[in-house]
Subunit: 385 residues, 2 copies
């Protein structure tokens, strides 16, 4: 168990109807709200109207149309509104893309230079507007973490940035707001949750408590994602998925462990270049990465994974057990309607070397659970074709 | 999954040497510290001297001698010091008794009337001094929760009180500070952790995520407590126990569930009257309570407990499996050196009716997992003789 600090102050309001607490919670931060959202599904579902009615004592400004893999242009646009209108707080209504973009806006609104420079050098981040969230998809965990990932199409980069200042102040987690999430997005969200947990889980540090939590979160997603796909309005399934998504990335599963992530940085390159859905990209890469790193050095951890997550009986042949866990992972992603190959996205090997170089550099993959260099990443990408 | 709010803002500093961060963290709250501690073991271990040296830029006042099952007299004494000296914050160095007493002092210091009146009517609690913690035993979880339990020997009462204002601001969790905890206290702490988790676990609400966490915390304690007893300076064992104790009662295991606790309220009566160690009392009561409530209505939950916590194979005969889990619980407590009967404490049945009446009233046991009336509690106490 490594030393760690755990200070996650987000006020989580979980359950049906919890939006009603927002006015009371938000008035501590001021009167002028920038309401941010994505493609407009919140208008179709009525959530937009409900929130506007609830927040009628506030002055509401808006930034809609925030794209998946959110772009630096939206950050600049939001920051400009904040500066011009003297916005007090940002209310992000959506999933990871809207929340991440809103965090970046919150920081850029308090920064004099260009927003991208802020992302390139986090030392410039010393202040941010408060961010509140109404979550509409179980996926990224951005509602209770201090991270934002922003894409720059000009430079072909997708960069994460971190600061305790970015931690949302309040987050409404109402499972009913996820009933209308389309099947592909529900499944991609499930893969994203599982990937966060798996990235935390595969590490060399002895860590019974976080790994017991990680295994439990994985079993939850494996049980509830198919149920949510069959019965989109199953409250319990949506609720467990939603809470699992939040806990998967709020620091509980990584407390006392190394930061030794691998797949996320490779996937970031895929979605930076090809704009694919992050969770779906992870569903392709994760089982291939698992097969690539399975060795005498890692087989025991894979046996724990197969036994404690997938429920396979412990047996003499460690590799057989380990492979059973990896096969089950791959089959699960397929069973919930996710792709198994990059070819299904129309992606070929043209950019593999470029992506590998960036993934290794940005993700510091020489410090990953199994250290990866550019050749390793190219091989994993080739296995994924 | 019931609606819930989760807002646990304590800044946890976990690991060896983390005390060194205290001066920087505490200076936000002022300069005058009331340092609180128990029987003086922190002087023997050198922790007292190390902290005094670290905090030499602060003005330190002291309240030592805080007893197990902390008494209202200590609260009054601490509050008087705070008022007289204009104390800015309280630094509790110890376990649950010292922390609970310090929380009550923090509230009483901001209250004009008598401290016990504050506990009797929590509406009077509107302000409290900030509390910081250096934890020295893995047990109560008081370091990351908003509860304090205080005893009044005059009235024979032991009452819990709650307020978000009581949540510690900072808590140093250095496993090395628990190396010198005597075996009986290590074991009692383990029983206390397990009881918190068990009280949260046995509930009728479907709650995959919190119960996966609860099961994982129980497996952790079952694995690590014997190891910590055999090897008191085993860092990993002490670390997992410490983090498990904190997570057992910070709201994660109860999020989305009913508050349906039973054993704690019965045990509070035992330690209020006989001043026994809380965790040891719980070790006696918990398996007896389990046997008493096992029925067609609860057997499935006990089967989950036996299979997922103790690793017993699922089988046809549900009662056989359920009883295997209960037997294992009882045997475990015995194996780590804890008593199995009240007789071992020298307690007889003289006060059973009085205790039962208070436990049912204070604990609202008609709302417990299996509702209990006074006759039920007397029967459970008789089974414990």
């Amino acid at each position: 168990m490594k030393n760690f600090e755990f200070c996650v102050t987000t006020d989580i309001l979980f359950g049906a109807g919890q939006e009603s607490q927002l006015p009371e919670k938000l008035k501590a931060y001021g009167r002028k709200i920038l309401l941010t959202y994505g493609g407009g599904s919140i208008k179709k579902t009525g959530l937009y109207d409900r929130l506007k009615a609830l927040l009628n004592d506030f002055e509401i400004f808006e930034l809609g149309g925030i794209a998946p893999n959110p772009k630096i242009e939206s950050v600049r646009e939001g920051a400009a509104i904040c500066k011009k209108e003297g916005i007090d707080m940002i209310l992000a209504v959506g999933g990871g893309s809207t929340i991440d973009c809103s965090k970046a806006i919150a920081a850029a609104a308090c920064h004099d230079g260009d927003a991208w420079d802020l992302l390139l050098d986090m030392n410039n981040l010393t202040r941010a507007l408060p961010v509140a969230v109404v979550l509409t998809i179980a996926a990224t965990g951005s509602e209770m973490d201090a991270v934002a990932v922003i894409s720059n199409d000009e430079t072909g980069e997708k960069l994460p940035f971190f600061s305790p200042l970015l931690l949302p102040k309040v987050a409404v987690l109402n499972p009913e707001n996820t009933y209308t999430v389309p099947p592909f997005q529900t499944a991609s969200g499930a893969a994203d949750i599982m990937s966060h947990v798996i990235e935390n889980y595969f590490d060399r540090e002895p860590a019974l408590v976080p790994d017991a939590i990680n295994e439990g979160l994985l079993r939850t997603v494996i049980a509830c994602a198919p149920l949510a796909l069959e019965q989109p309005s199953n409250y319990e399934a949506r609720a467990q998925l939603m809470w699992a998504s939040t806990l998967a990335l709020n620091g509980l599963g990584s407390a006392g462990k190394n930061f030794a992530w691998s797949c996320h940085y490779i996937e970031h390159e895929l979605s930076a270049l090809y704009d694919i859905t992050h969770g779906a990209g992870l569903a392709v890469l994760t089982p291939k990465w698992m097969r690539y790193i399975l060795s005498d050095d890692t087989v025991d951890k894979f046996c724990d994974y197969a036994a404690n997550v997938w429920g396979f009986r412990r047996e003499e042949d460690k590799y057989a057990l380990a492979n059973r866990g990896i096969d089950a992972t791959e089959a699960f992603f397929k069973s919930i309607g996710l792709p198994s190959t990059l070819t299904e996205f129309g992606i070929d090997d043209a950019m593999f070397e470029t992506m590998a170089e960036k993934a290794v550099r940005i993700g510091s993959l020489s410090n990953a659970y199994v250290p990866l260099d550019e050749r390793d990443v190219v091989r994993i990408l080739r296995m994924s074709l």
